[in-house]
């Protein structure tokens, strides 16, 4: 600790250079924070997908429906403990940019299959007793300032016209990655109102709960075989595979993010390494004086590494702090990334990267300083 003032004094002998280096690390770690947040958001469904749930959709495409009658037939398959369904509604709230996912759900089974969404019994019962009732996730409720009792109009895009809903419940996820942006209403309400248009008697997809996750492959195959050669053939996969496939539609984001991250890390190493190399080169005679006074090789090594570490950790903390503040203001895309947050684990990972950069970038200059011969160093005065 007694060397810290000395380390700080050295850091600020070239204020502009130090500030610029700290700034570049801060920008890089800010970028890192945003990238991992986006990566987390895109894979949120994959990370929290239930291992005991399968998604059954129309084999042709996700937008093609399946008959309502499949629910009973799915329940009869061995190992299936429950089958629920939902239909994509695709309504617009005020403006298209106010996007959030809306599902018409089977109120009898949905809560059983998705126990991770927490709703009080009183609110759930209020939702059940109101045909125009809706349940909304906390993120979306906070985003639009909705509260229980509010009446919300949505402009239908698939089933046109104005649809009005009463907010009866607000749900919260029990895990950090749970999607709290969804909007649910009763499938029966959808069914009633669309009788005059199209899609009656169908659902968007089924979510099947299985008793034994080890049986997932067998059950998947059984389901698809059961409905093969019918008018509505199915494609079944685990919820995780379904979510991953959804994320992959945007491309290999993880690979892209890893590549950008690696380039950023490498650039950081060069920037910080260059700063430290210059700092040591300029101070060779001083390092010689320190050694003359009795500072050991390891102490000199420590002093140089400490400077590098301080630059990296201050820059890292600044960058990650800015990223945290940015993500705290919520999804900047207006609903495309509902799970948009920078977790403590990722912030710690960012700090670990910053510390690694500090150590790696400082190591060569520090070793150079450590191995300096006093007589050679003093000769450069």
């Amino acid at each position: 600790m007694k060397y810290l003032p000395f380390v700080f004094r050295n850091l600020f002998r070239k204020k502009t250079r130090t500030i610029l280096t700290i700034g570049s690390i801060a920008v890089a770690l800010f970028l890192f924070g945003l990238l991992v947040t986006i990566e987390t958001a895109l894979n949120a469904g994959v990370d929290v997908a239930g291992v005991d749930r399968l998604i059954v959709r129309n084999k042709i495409s996700l937008i093609m429906p399946l008959p309502l009658s499949y629910q009973e037939r799915l329940r009869q398959i061995e190992s299936v403990s429950e089958a629920t369904f939902a239909t994509w509604f695709g309504g617009i709230y005020q403006e298209p940019k106010n996007f959030f996912p809306q599902f018409a759900i089977d109120t009898d089974t949905y809560r059983t299959v998705f126990p991770e969404f927490e709703i009080s019994d009183a609110e759930w019962n209020a939702f059940l007793s109101d045909r125009e009732g809706a349940v909304v996730g906390k993120t979306t409720a906070d985003r639009f300032g909705w509260k229980v009792g509010d009446r919300i109009p949505l402009q239908g895009t698939i089933w046109t016209g104005t649809w009005e809903f009463n907010i009866r419940a607000i749900y919260e996820g029990t895990r950090s990655g749970d999607d709290e942006s969804q909007f649910w209403f009763q499938w029966k309400y959808l069914e009633e109102r669309r009788q005059t248009s199209f899609g009656g008697g169908t659902v968007g997809w089924y979510t099947v709960q299985i008793a034994d996750p080890d049986q997932a492959v067998t059950v998947t195959r059984t389901i698809d075989e059961r409905f093969s050669n019918s008018a509505y053939e199915t494609s079944t996969e685990t919820e995780q595979a379904f979510a991953a496939g959804f994320a992959k539609q945007i491309g290999n984001i993880k690979m892209l993010i890893m590549s950008i991250g690696a380039v950023v890390l490498f650039t950081l190493l060069l920037v910080t390494g260059n700063t430290m190399a210059m700092a040591v080169r300029e101070r060779v005679p001083e390092l010689g004086v320190l050694k003359t006074l009795g500072f050991g090789d390891k102490t000199v090594l420590f002093l140089v590494l400490a400077e590098s570490l301080v630059i990296a950790t201050v820059g890292g903390a600044l960058g990650l702090g800015m990223a945290k503040l940015f993500t705290m203001s919520g999804d900047p895309t207006g609903g495309m990334l509902p799970v948009f947050y920078l977790s403590t684990r990722e912030m710690l990972l960012g700090m670990a990267i910053a510390i690694f950069v500090g150590l790696a970038a400082g190591s060569i200059p520090a070793l150079t300083a450590m191995n300096l011969r006093i007589v050679d160093a003093l000769r450069r005065v």
Binding site: R9, R13, L290, T292, L293, G294, D297, K298, I374, V375
Partner: protein, 236 residues
């Protein structure tokens, strides 16, 4: 008493025996010091003179444990330093040697106080005790009112006095001065020499000084000349 005959002297603080230093540059071998002997008692003030390249600074570096000899031994107060490891030697330097350089070699980003405190950071002294030591040293060199000044805010003579305070703050066994007045005007040089003389006479410090300046050498108890790698006695 200072001797260069190599005979045993029980009272020697610094004892150098058959010291050789050979540099190899390219294919050329340069014998800087050849079989040098020296005995210096505690409280002596010795000046080393000689032409450039005669090995004065090399001798000082060897006496201060900054460099290792090709052969021969250097003992200080019974400790033979020529075979010490780098770590031991650094710790030995911190305890026993005070260095004063021609260019002062202060750390520019530290105040006079912090520069003088540097060697004390290597000790186990508390912050409060370090402060007392630093203030004492700076008062002794007449700079108690310049403690918070940075080197750039001091004159050359004042900078050298800060360097002397840094050299004596740990109360080392002896002081090594490499051209301490070489970069100063006459007046400042005289002040520094007065200070060194005072350190010897009033505080019993052993001082070994390399200089080109005959006036500076006059302040020493004895002047030794380095000629072709060997010591020759001069005026005392």
């Amino acid at each position: 008493m200072v001797d260069i005959d190599g005979k045993e002297h029980s009272a020697s603080l610094i004892r150098v025996r058959n010291l050789n230093k050979v540099y190899r540059r390219g294919g050329e071998t340069i014998n800087v010091l050849q079989g040098l002997n020296l005995d210096v008692e505690k409280g002596e003030f010795v000046a080393f003179m000689g032409p450039s390249g005669s090995g004065k600074t090399t001798l000082l570096n060897l006496l201060g444990g900054l460099d290792t000899p090709t052969s021969g031994t250097v003992s200080v107060d019974g400790d033979e330093i020529t075979h010490m490891s780098g770590r031991k030697l650094a710790s030995w330097r911190a305890r026993h040697v005070g260095f004063i350089f021609q260019m002062y070699n202060l750390i520019p980003v530290l105040t006079a106080f912090q520069n003088v405190e540097l060697p004390l950071l290597l000790t186990k002294l508390s912050k409060a005790k370090r402060k007392i030591h630093v203030e004492t040293a700076l008062t002794l060199v007449g700079l108690s009112d310049r403690m918070t000044h940075y080197p750039r805010q001091l004159s050359g003579g004042q900078e050298q006095r800060v360097a002397i305070a840094r050299a004596i703050v740990t109360d080392p066994t002896f002081l090594l001065c490499d051209e301490p007045t070489g970069d100063l005007d006459r007046k400042s040089a005289e002040e520094i020499l007065d200070l060194l003389t005072e350190l010897e006479s009033d505080h019993g410090k052993t001082i070994l000084m390399v200089t080109h300046d005959p006036l500076a050498a006059e302040r020493a108890d004895m002047t030794l000349h380095l000629d072709k790698g060997a010591l020759v006695e001069g005026a005392s």
